[in-house]
């Protein structure tokens, strides 16, 4: 038995060990989040404008920014390229057989546009835009939807004037809306049944074949890329591979916006013939060609020129 000259103190200590008190309030875990920490991460914007930072941008400023950073996926007029989202148009279609949900026809709040562009766009380089750039691009997308005039300048004050036409048409979930009953016999008239089958050709079925021995690869372009990378790559191209995956594959993997698909020798031969200097210049500074738009550095301005050149080397060497 443990002995102490101060037996009273021993009793108290022993009780604490035997029965730790359950804490009703905070457990005291974690550190205080400082205003500086919170300011760095608190990026959300609300419909009432709460969260909008100082700054501004005009429709005119937004036009150039949009064409350089957004049009390659969303189209010059917001019409969308490939399967990328359509941003403009679609008014009056929501109750038809072909509803087109765009910023103008569907989105209930303009704050959502600012918030989303700021947090997630451009798609390959999120949170790379300055606040003024976000204001300008937001203003331009609103202009593409005829929600503001061509001389509009968006800032904290003018934001309050913007009203989205479809706002009144949203309502809170009112399910359950269907009431089925648990009938057990003679619940339907089979003579009225029309049995509709599927449209063949839309289901990926590669994996249905037995003994194929090959894993189903649903991304044909990835297979092409894998095949292409079997050739010996230069040091620059090896260095460029991860940059490619991060910044270029979004368009050059699938051929979005006229981008030549990596590994497609036919699509690249004419371009390669222009020389690496020209290809690098176009990739770094941006380029508008007859087939589509190459945003400067793929829209990822944080990349160094050399990194872009390495990625170009990877694409070129993988496509010869």
């Amino acid at each position: 038995m443990f002995r102490s000259p101060k037996s009273g103190a021993l009793t108290v200590a022993f009780l604490c060990f035997a029965s730790p008190a359950l804490v009703a309030g905070p457990l005291g875990i974690g550190e205080t989040a400082t205003p500086e920490m919170i300011a760095g991460w608190d990026i959300d914007i609300r419909p009432d404008g709460r969260g909008l930072p100082p700054g501004e941008g005009s429709v005119a400023d937004g036009e150039g920014l949009y064409e350089a950073k957004c049009a390659s996926c969303h189209g010059l007029f917001g019409e969308g390229a490939g399967r990328w989202p359509i941003l403009a148009g679609g008014e009056g279609t929501l109750d038809t057989a072909h509803p087109e949900k765009t910023v103008g026809s569907y989105w209930p709040y303009a704050s959502t546009l600012w918030d989303y562009i700021h947090r997630a766009m451009p798609y390959p380089a999120p949170q790379s835009l300055t606040d003024d750039e976000v204001y300008a691009i937001t203003a331009y997308v609103l202009y593409l939807n005829d929600i503001v005039e061509d001389d509009f300048v968006l800032n904290q004050e003018t934001f309050q004037e913007v009203k989205m036409p479809n706002e009144p048409n949203f309502y809170i979930d009112d399910r359950p809306d269907v009431v089925n009953t648990r009938c057990m016999s003679q619940c339907a008239d089979a003579s009225t049944f029309e049995i509709v089958t599927t449209i063949n050709g839309v289901t990926p079925t590669a994996h249905f074949k037995e003994d194929s021995g090959v894993a189903a690869n649903h991304y044909g372009n990835e297979a092409a890329t894998a095949e292409a990378t079997k050739v010996a790559l230069s040091d620059a191209a090896v260095a460029g591979k991860s940059i490619y995956a991060k910044a270029c594959n979004v368009c050059h993997g699938a051929g979005v916006a006229g981008a030549p698909v990596t590994g497609d020798a036919a699509a690249w031969s004419e371009r390669i013939a222009q020389g690496m200097a020209t290809l690098n210049k176009h990739a770094i500074e941006g380029y508008v060609g007859k087939n589509g738009v190459m945003p400067a550095k793929g829209g990822n301005m944080a990349l160094a020129d050399e990194e872009v050149a390495n990625a170009v080397a990877f694409m070129v060497e993988s496509s010869q």
Binding site: W41, Y123, F170, M184, C187, V202, H218
Partner: protein
């Protein structure tokens, strides 16, 4: 008796044209080519007999018994047998790229109710971030007494719970709203998984920061490239919401939000924000992109429902299914999965005649709140054609609706929350086709 016929030519061409409008370039050409080929005659699934495996069958000694096998830790983290083909799969024409896309769980290949972590369906809005847990932080701030920042080490100090819950993308079945499209249960119902999740109750974290009385909403935000964000009402946060770091006995997989995610049991998967970095308490919702532009349900009158959070009661037969046709006459155990975002499954019924008559199925194994529940019906199949359906009823008394009931109310363009009774057409040969009864 039921008359089975294919859609008329003009109707099929119209459906093709409608679908093709959403596709461009090669996608569209391939689609139309496939579709037009289909008009000429419906292709059938070929059942190829397995290669002759007699050398290993009795009375012969199997080849693998004649030498030593692999030793311990040859594969320190094990993997399925090379003879298994367990894979998440996607429908490539559905999305523009693989970073903002979805893959489906192979429900046809699974047993019991737990989805192995590597087969849980994927849904990303900006790819999987490669989060270093040492450098990951969760900030809780806004209308609170004590804003805090938590490391993963801090989070694990809170009292934890482990619960089995399903997660379902609200777009599960969404490709089938306007007509039957997918000849595979993996694609009609595979945006659905069920795991054991381990973490802390969100209510515990909220007690830690002390929510001010005006705090009624929480913004949950991810650390991915999309900064995925959703507004969560305080009522759900205090009810059964969890902040989880464990999945099926180990750390979350990167695909499921490593190192920490929100889990809102029974609610559309998108609200269970992955790679959770921030919870802000506020007095009103934020109406962010994934709760306005997306994850809202367009109704036939052009108006739209918002905050459609609950995944209502649903079920599907997973055996047989298009991937698992009937190969034997005689005894047959029909199996499937049922689930409800509102609680436990109370009962499941099965119909062989397209919903005219129903029989009660048996619930197998664990029947848990907001978890997948496996059902079974033992029967005989002797080559008769079936229009096979399942219908689930949850503990609130809600009965899974027919497709007609859903379409009559919601039209064909709401994308999300299609939980109607599903029909498999089993032919005399035992082939299984996805059909819709209209």
């Amino acid at each position: 008796m039921t008359k089975l016929f294919e859609p008329s030519l003009p109707k099929l061409m119209e459906a093709l044209a409608t679908e093709a409008q959403g596709l461009k370039g090669m996608d569209r050409r391939n689609f139309l080519k496939g579709g037009i080929a289909a008009v000429a005659g419906l292709a059938s699934v070929q059942i190829i007999p397995k290669a002759n495996a007699q050398p290993n069958l009795p009375p012969n000694i199997p080849e693998w018994q004649t030498y030593l096998g692999r030793g311990v830790v040859a594969k320190p983290y094990g993997e399925p047998s090379e003879f298994e083909d367990l894979q998440r799969r996607t429908v490539p024409w559905l999305t523009a790229d693989a970073q903002s896309s979805i893959s489906m769980t192979p429900l046809q290949d699974l047993e019991g109710i737990i989805t192995p972590s590597g087969l849980v369906f994927e849904r990303y809005h900006g790819g999987i971030p490669n989060v270093n847990p040492e450098q990951h932080r969760l900030i809780i701030h806004g209308l609170v007494e004590r804003p805090i920042v938590l490391s993963m080490d801090d989070l694990r100090r809170f009292p934890s719970v482990s619960e089995i819950r399903f997660i379902e993308c609200p777009a599960n079945g969404g490709m089938e709203w306007r007509g039957a499209q997918m000849e595979a249960v993996q694609f009609t119902h595979g945006m659905l998984s069920c795991c054991e999740w381990t973490g802390v109750k969100l209510s515990t974290l909220l007690a830690e920061v002390g929510v001010k009385p005006e705090g009624q909403w929480i913004l949950a935000e991810g650390a991915d490239a999309a900064g995925m964000s959703r507004s969560i009402p305080m009522e759900k946060a205090l009810d059964d919401a969890l902040v989880v770091w464990g999945q099926n006995g180990e750390a979350l997989r990167p695909e499921q939000g490593y190192p920490v995610r929100l889990l809102l049991p029974g609610w559309e998967g998108n609200t269970s924000v992955k790679w959770l970095r921030r919870l802000e308490i506020g007095d009103q919702p934020w109406h962010h992109r994934e709760e306005t532009s997306k994850y809202t349900d367009l109704m036939p009158d052009g108006r739209a429902r918002r905050f459609t959070w609950v995944q209502e009661c649903n079920s599907v037969i997973t055996s047989p299914c298009p991937e698992k046709p009937l190969r034997h006459r005689g005894f047959l155990e029909i199996q499937g999965l049922a689930w409800s975002g509102k609680g436990k499954i109370k009962a499941v019924d099965v119909s062989f005649d397209g919903g005219v008559n129903w029989q009660r199925a048996e619930l197998k194994g664990l029947v848990l709140d907001k978890a997948l529940t496996r059902f079974s019906l033992q029967t005989q199949w002797n080559g008769e054609p079936w229009l096979l359906q399942s219908r689930a009823i949850d503990e609130t008394g809600y009965v899974q609706p027919t497709l007609k009931q859903l379409r009559d109310l919601r039209g064909g363009w709401s994308i999300y929350h299609k939980n109607s009774i599903h029909t498999w057409n089993v032919t005399e040969k035992g082939e299984v086709y996805n059909v819709q009864i209209t």
